[in-house]
Structure formats: C-alpha cells, structure tokens
Amino acid sequence: MSEDREQQPAPEEEQPRGLKRFMGRFKQVTYGMASHDMTRYALRTRASMEHLFILVTMGDMLGVPILPPYYSMRLLPYVVPQVATWKRRMLREKDVTDALF
C-alpha cells in the first residue's frame, strides 16, 4: 500500500524560484542523508507486517486457515492489490543469498 511513496518526496516543491528552489533541494539532500534510510527501513518493516497481516487473515489461500473465513472475507477487498506480491513472497524458495542481501 505504501511502497509507492518511497519513490520521491512530495512533488509540489518544484517551484523554480531562487531561494525557495535552493531550500527545496537542500531539504531533499538532507532528507536523503539523514532520514532516507530510516524511512526505507520503516517502510520495509511496514511491508513485512502487511504480509504477515495478510497471512494471518487470508491464510486459507495458502492452506493455512487461521481467521474464520466469514470475517476474513470482510477484509478481503482491502488486500486485493497485495495478494499477488504476498503470495510470491510467501511461496518463494529461499537460498543462501537471502542471508546475504
């Protein structure tokens, strides 16, 4: 849901006016230096949790029934876009390179 936000900071800062423009760039650079990694990390954690969440609610799809289906169906519409990536991640084969990267 939120990984797309990772691409770039808000676009409305693109006003081509001297100081303002400079300040904008400066903000981006400091953001990149100081907090980009942190943000990335937070988003990654968020994404892992998202997948964990889908697993515990929609586990049936992989043959792991956890939540009673009547109620998990209520949540189904919200996770439709993530189902494909989630399945890919859950069913992916893991090898030694996973530990390295």
């Binding site: 943000t39 988003l43 968020r46 009673p68 289906p69 109620y71 998990s72 189904l76 439709v80 189902v83």
Partner: protein, 335 residues
C-alpha cells in the same frame, strides 16, 4: 398448573420469572432436539404479545419449524406478522451467505474499478463459503443484525441445538482474543506509517479502514456472544423431559453453558403424562410408563430443584396452529 400435571409440588411460576425481570429481553429455550423448544418459543411469544409487548420469535435452524408451528411459510422472508404484536422470522443462512459474498465482490469491483473479480480472489470467496464454520458465523451475524435494529421489545430465539450454540460461544472467545491480537499488529503497522509521514513532514496518514473493520468485527462477535451471555438481558431456559438420558444430558449441558457464562433462568419440564390417567382403567403399558415417569420427575426435582419453572403435559395432538399454541401458553403461564 398443578391440576394439569397431577403433581402437587409448588412450582415457581414461569410468568413470575418474566414479571420479576422485565429487563430480560432475549429469551431462549435450549435443549436436545425434539423436546419442544419451538413449541415453547412460540407459546412464549404468543403470551408476551398478548400482554402488549412487541415480540419477534426467530429461528436460525436450517430445519426450522416455526413455519410448521404457525402454519405459514416464513422461511427466508424476513419478519412476518403472525398476529398483533407477534412476528416470526426464519433466517435462511445459505441466502445470507450468498448475499454476503455478492456484497464482498461488489465492494472489490467498486474499490478498484474492475470489471470482474480476479480469479484467485474469486476462488477464495467460493472456497471460503464451503467451510463449515461459515454457516455458524453467518447465522450469528444475522442475529446481530436483527438485535441491533432493536425493533422489538422481546427477542425469542428458537435456538439451534445446544452443540451449535456452545461451538459458537467457544469460537467467539477465541476470535475475540485473536482479533485483539491482530488489531495490535495493525496498530503497530500504523505507527510505522506515521513515523514515515512525520519524517517526510507529510499530512496526516489516511485512515486505516482495515483497522475500522477489525473493530467492527470484534464488536459484532461480542454482541453475538453477548446475546447468549448477558446476565441482565438474557433468560435462558432448558427444556427437559422425564427420561433418564435427557436428564443426564441436560445436566451436562447446563454445566457447559455455565462455563461459558450463560445465565440459566430455569428448567421447563415437557411431555409429562397426566397422572389422572392412572385412576381410569388403564392398560398396563401406560401404567408402567406413568410409574417410570414418576421416578424421573423425582429425579428432575432432585437435580434441578427450585429452578424448575413449569411442567407441561403431553398434549393429545401435536402443537401446530394458534389454538394449540394458546393452550400451551396457558399451561406454561397460567393464562
């Protein structure tokens, strides 16, 4: 009542129970199949509606017999008016599940502007509906709808057999804890999101709809089990008959229900053969049956004591149609 049953024991009246606890709006008769739960539900609904209360008697049993007792086909037709202030409803669980599935599909289509539901999602929806737990959940969920609407003074719940109710209660307990857990996970996810938003100085993050749904699901589960377990509002009566197996099973069931905090209002004894029959020239068979019954009635008194609220005699014909319901109501509540 005593003249009808031939027993001179003083019984706490069922009518008194209702008068003393006007706040008990959810009335249930529980017991093994075929003991007369539906009969008592219908008779109680009749009696209460006659007293000027607006009553809904409803059933969630797929083999519902309210249609039979009121001699009117009401299955899956919503609340049907039977008499003044008296409404009956038989919930069609399958229908409810179908509508629910369609709702989910429509929501997916609307949310993402799709023309059709993606195949794997559709597969999931279809497969999930085949789960056995689906029906229980659907049933209790529709009960929540009915009760939440609050259109009636009394809700008489012609209960599914004991096993189902217990199964749902135990499910509800697990679900509740479980949903509390995933709600926490969801909230942690939100914290991560908010952190990112703060660092990037973004506006407030959008509201988490899933969290909202989770809270709603938990509320519904609590309402559903609350209907069965609310000490203030629930009156749960067991139906017993003077038979060895039934007495033993009822006692066991009562213990189990007590474990799940179901407040047991009392016991109603059904199918009591009138003792007057003995004075006439009776065949040995009937005589023997009445003597056996006497033994079991004693056992019922020993087991349930003061909690026995009424004794209803075995009728000379089955209870269907309003005149018979009225007669049972008279026996139960003293007219």
């Amino acid at each position: 009542m005593a003249e009808a049953t031939g027993t001179d024991e003083k019984l706490t009246s069922l009518a008194e129970e209702f008068e003393q606890h006007p706040e008990r709006r959810y009335v249930m008769f529980g017991g093994k199949g075929g003991l007369g739960k539906t009969t008592f539900s219908a008779a109680t609904a009749f009696w209460l509606s006659n007293k000027g209360h607006k009553v809904l008697v409803f059933s969630v049993d797929p083999q519902a017999s309210l249609s039979d007792i009121f001699e009117k086909d009401i299955f899956g037709k919503g609340p049907v008016k039977i008499a003044e202030n008296l409404f009956a409803q038989e919930i069609d669980a399958d229908q409810h599940i179908k509508e629910y599935q369609d709702e989910i599909r429509q929501k997916i289509l609307d949310m993402y502007g799709m023309d059709e539901v993606p195949e794997e999602i559709e597969d999931y929806i279809t497969a999930a509906s085949a789960e056995p737990a689906m029906e229980e959940s659907a049933i209790f969920d529709s009960v929540v709808d009915i009760v939440n609407r609050g259109d009636y003074d009394y809700y008489i719940y012609d209960l599914v057999p004991l096993g189902h109710a217990l199964y749902y209660l135990s499910m509800a307990k697990v679900y509740d804890e479980w949903i509390t857990k995933i709600t926490r996970l969801r909230e942690e996810m939100r914290e991560q999101e908010e952190f990112v938003a703060r660092v990037r100085r973004e506006e407030e993050v959008e509201e988490d709809q899933i969290l909202g749904e989770l809270h709603d699901i938990r509320d519904r589960i609590r309402t559903a089990s609350g209907i069965l377990t609310d000490r203030e509002k629930t009156a749960f009566f067991f139906v017993v008959t003077p038979e060895e197996m039934i007495i033993v099973d009822t006692r066991k069931a009562a213990e189990l229900f007590a474990k799940f905090d179901v407040p047991i209002g009392g016991y109603v004894v059904n199918r009591v053969l009138p003792e007057e029959l003995l004075t006439e020239d009776v065949p040995g068979y009937l005589k023997k049956r009445i003597e056996t019954q006497r033994k079991y009635l004693q056992k019922i008194r020993d087991t349930f004591g003061q909690d026995i609220l009424a004794q209803i005699p075995e009728m000379e014909r089955d209870v269907t149609g309003m005149p018979m319901i009225e007669r049972v109501a008279e026996r139960m509540y003293g007219g």
